[in-house]
């Protein structure tokens, strides 16, 4: 049961993290709180899915994000209503076969290799040896002349940074490109709504 739900969450929800981050970036001005919101959204989606799987995972994810943002805004302590003027029509790609999906192949590998290259030096070296050369943590420690505990720490850090980079999609890109992407996406949304 749990394993099924976990797999569903990974395959149907996490793949849309780029879209979720994009949504939060537009609707939540406080950068420091976005990671918390993201996690809260994930937790709510997971809990809801435990009783019934939503039929349109991506739309459900973004709707959940929207509800959370509205809840927080109503509580009024965190942020003023004003920056969220465009909350009403929720532009959601209902197309479930989206570009965010981790299709096999070159794009995934490119994103992974991009993410790998953004790791700090030592961390990158550890992850390379562990993931590309497939050495065990112990072997990595011997090769680099550091303790196994240090290797473990680098791995933990590498996991977090890789996840942020890999799942980030547009958000992980430099601002100029992100903005260009946002415009494009909106146009895309409108086109779909017109259909």
């Amino acid at each position: 049961m749990t394993a099924d739900l976990d797999a569903w969450f990974v395959e149907e929800i996490l793949v849309h993290e780029g879209a979720l981050r994009h949504y939060l970036a537009r609707h939540w001005p406080n950068v420091d709180e976005r990671a918390d919101l993201r996690q809260e959204v994930y937790a709510r989606v997971y809990q809801a899915a435990a009783s019934e799987l939503p039929r349109h995972p991506k739309a459900f994810l973004l709707t959940t994000a929207r509800h959370l943002v509205v809840d927080r805004a109503r509580r009024g302590k965190v942020v003023s209503i004003e920056p969220m003027g465009d909350l009403e029509p929720l532009h959601v790609l209902v197309d479930e076969v989206s570009p965010e999906r981790w299709c096999g192949g070159r794009q995934v590998l490119r994103r992974l290799s991009d993410a790998l290259d953004r790791l700090p030096d030592r961390c990158r070296e550890v992850v390379w040896l562990r993931r590309v050369e497939e050495l065990s943590q112990r072997e990595v420690a011997q090769r680099m002349g550091i303790t196994e505990k240090t290797v473990e720490k680098h791995i933990a850090k590498g996991m977090r940074l890789l996840a942020d980079q890999f799942l980030g999609g547009d958000d992980a890109q430099p601002r100029a490109r992100r903005d260009a992407g946002a415009d494009h996406r909106d146009a895309d949304d409108d086109a779909r709504h017109a259909d």
Binding site: W102, R110, S113, W128, R131, A163
Partner: protein, 342 residues
Amino acid sequence: MHATPTDAAAIETVAADWLARRDAGAWSDDDARALEAWLQAATAHRVAFLRLDAVWAESGRLQALGAGRDRTGVPPRAQAGLADLSMLTFAPRASARHRGRGRWAAAAFAACLALVAGGAWFVSAPVDPVDYHTPRGVTRTVTLADGSSTTLASNTALAVRLSRSERHLVLASGEAFFEAAKDPQRPFVVEAGDRRVVAIGTRFSVRREADALRVVVTEGTVRLEPADGDIRQPTTLLPAGSVATVRRDAVLVRSLSLAEVEELVDWRSGRLVFRDTALTDAVAEFNRFNTRQIVIADASVGALRIGGSFRWENAEGFVRLLERGFPVEAEYGREKIVLRAP
């Protein structure tokens, strides 16, 4: 309360610590129970864990960056994969724009080196050349000296040359499934006609037909590239789940589920699995494995589409089932079974 700024970060840190510890290898039942308890404690824990776990699992694909390269430490940024990747293609046609840059220059340089070093290599290299052959109707699994194993399908010829620098196999005809033992020092290379498939620690099959080559990857990643270093041909990375078909210059790659690709190599356990397959194609599969051939006399019969799982030894049983379910009449001879429309 949930959203103090450090909340998500703190949880994620704990999740990463768990995963890194599990990755370290010394993972006891107590550890597993403690982790399970932590995951149960809050949904926020579970989602943070799943997120890191999924990406870490996905990062196993990075192994492809090392396929076939000589392992001399960690390469500098961007040279590791990106330069290489820009040369890779997953599409039938290679993009012309990328050609002629660094990697090909390097390849040309390497080719020159190979010419120089070639003489010496041949003297010291091949350790124990072995040729394997299976007649029609027989499959055979052999374990190679390096711990790899290969299963030859019916009517297959495979030559194995293990050297200190490379494991080189030549598939002259038929189909073989490979379970390549991990050995970063020695690439596992299967040559088939004008292509070769490069793997390190992975499971895949290579099959030669009259005018096509098929590569099925069930685990890990392999690289499909021209055997003679012909730079006009694309190099293609095939992750698990890929089915690549090569016809002359075109490479077509389909991504299937792992269950589906396993079916394509199920002949190893004596089964042929079809899903909405034209009878012509299904019959061709049976004929690969049997001396008693099935012949389709009417085109309308060949166009029927069938599905199911069958033992390839039992061609007659397959035909009898066909007769029951489809407008097909069969004539059973010693050498062949002829199928006709009624």
